[in-house]
Amino acid sequence: MGIRVENLVKSFGSVRVVDHVSFEVRPGELVALLGPSGGGKSTVLRMIAGLEAADSGEVWLDGARVDHLHARDRQVGFVFQHYALFRHMTVADNIAFGLSVRKIPLAEQKERVATLLEVMGLPGMGERMPSQLSGGQRQRVALARALAPRPKLLLLDEPFGAVDAKVREELRRWLRKLHDEVHTTSIFVTHDQEEAFAIADRVMIISQGKLEQAGSPVEILDNPATEFVARFVGDVNVLPGVSRQGHVHVGRVSVPAEDPHPDGTAVNVVVRAYDLKFWREDGAGVATVRRVMTVGDRVRVEAWLDEVEAPIFAQFPRRSSLLHGVEAGCRIAVEITQARAWAVHAPDAR
């Protein structure tokens, strides 16, 4: 089912948490709402589900406006951040709840519960109580419960926020697989970019109540629409620079400008950690290495840029030839292979 959201606005007291957000999700898509905590993502999700009333704006599900509908009439499955399982009911009763309130015949309920337990990898756990399950299992029960009444749309609020890193990794892969099998249009909220980029077809970046950019993971990584997105996505350096003759200059380092600015404009240069080259250059160079750290299969090099007096860091594969002789205290040359520049004080600068 397709969904369209238009000009959603919501304030709590004097704080505007959702500020004219509009987007569309195509049928069968898996979309991530990504952004810093407290940015209004969950509120958008709750307004789509009908758990929160919008101050203004419209929500359309399947071409029909649903703003006036109560949550129970929207046929939207919702997975809560802390599961919200019914604590006094068994796993099977939890999953069957959405069917039994609709008075579906008991035999049919049982069959659906058994199928879902199987699909969710929880066979034989129907008679357990939620308190007897691990975090990952509870999450899957919550998902099964939401899917049981065959919702047209599945909404997940920080679905993996409350489980540990390893289980999260597993659940992530498993959610993507599930989506590929079931094809329920789904939107999930997360503050973890790795999570968003790993499983979503499209990612929407939301910050301070505003939709900053919507696009595929590659589009967002390669073509950030705003300085916020550029800074937020990936490991980035933000360096002070000046635009001159089609180039952006950061001290003595320069890079061809992708974003044209008038000569002399002061800019924030956003450089990804993997769009940099460092190599040792004794007696010359533009920066001094401060620290070299091995992080798994990559090496992170932190340095201090002389002229602009700013820290800069880069990441290289562990066996990279660029690392030859690079150690704490040595002088290095710096090359920026790709960068985006935003004028300081531009309207979208934050």
Binding site: L51, A71, Q75, F78, L85
Partner: protein, 265 residues
């Protein structure tokens, strides 16, 4: 290695002191009651099985049961309003709920007498309806309802605060009506608070004396409750009847304490 848990001389002394104090305070009076009743058992049994005593016990039990039921319903409804709703004056209402705990029962009785008594504000209404309220069992019920009002409400409110409302939200996204969500999610979740509140309500209702005496007047076979029966027996120098009824109430209190204890575990 020195164990942190091993009692030192001082802590053992304090422990014994606390035990002795509790024994003196709790067990000695109870023991004295038992001894007195036992020494005159035949007489006590005959008085307690007399119509006056039985009527007093029946009234006390009926009022207690009514309080449990009514305050159970009102407690859940009131707790839902106080915890889940946001409205002007909520804080004031929240504080007012505890008023019966702070007021002396004698004052409560007096206040109700002013409302329902001979020259009371509501007297014309009551008379028009042909009801006998003051110095009749309805007034005993009303003041007992008043003094037991906070218990269930507070216990249920505590549980509601703790569990939050996300389960109700989940129920509504799953298609449940507000009524279905209440019966299938909210009520089972607050069950523990309800039992706890009912136990406290029963303990208070069984033991209420001052308010009941003021509005009811301890009229034998009509408004006399177990506690006012004890009072009346003492006035008439019927000590063994008083001891017997007191022991009965004490036994009921101990039984309720067991329920409370099991709930806590």
């Amino acid at each position: 290695m020195h164990s942190l848990r091993r009692p030192t001389g001082v802590s053992r002394f304090i422990f014994l002191g606390v035990c002795a104090w509790l024994a003196a305070l709790l067990l000695v009076p109870l023991g004295a009651l038992c001894v007195n009743v036992a020494s005159d058992l035949g007489h006590v049994v005959s008085v307690l099985s007399g119509p006056e005593a039985l009527n007093a016990i029946a009234l006390t039990l009926a009022v207690t049961l009514a309080c449990i039921v009514f305050n159970g319903i009102f407690g859940v409804a009131g707790a839902l309003v106080l915890v889940r709703q946001r409205f002007v004056g909520r804080r004031v209402l929240d504080a007012l709920v505890d008023l019966p705990l702070a007021l002396s029962p004698v004052m409560t009785g007096l206040a109700f007498l002013l409302v329902l008594g001979r020259s009371g504000v509501l007297r014309p209404v009551v008379d028009r309806l042909g009801l006998d309220v003051a110095f009749a069992w309805p007034s005993v019920l009303i003041v007992t309802l008043f003094v037991t009002l906070p218990f269930t409400l507070r216990e249920v409110a505590l549980v509601l605060e703790e569990v939050g409302d996300s389960e109700e939200q989940a129920a509504s996204t799953l298609g449940a009506s507000a009524w279905q969500a209440f019966w299938r999610v909210t009520l089972p979740n607050v069950r523990g608070g309800l039992v706890m509140g009912a136990t406290l309500t029963a303990a208070r209702a069984l033991g209420e004396f001052g308010a009941v005496l003021v509005v009811g007047g301890s009229i034998a076979n009509r408004t006399q409750t177990a506690t006012t029966f004890i009072h009346g027996a003492l006035e008439e120098r019927q000590e063994s009847a008083a001891y017997g009824m007191a022991l009965l109430l004490a036994a009921a209190a101990v039984a309720l304490l067991f329920v409370l204890q099991r709930r806590r575990e």
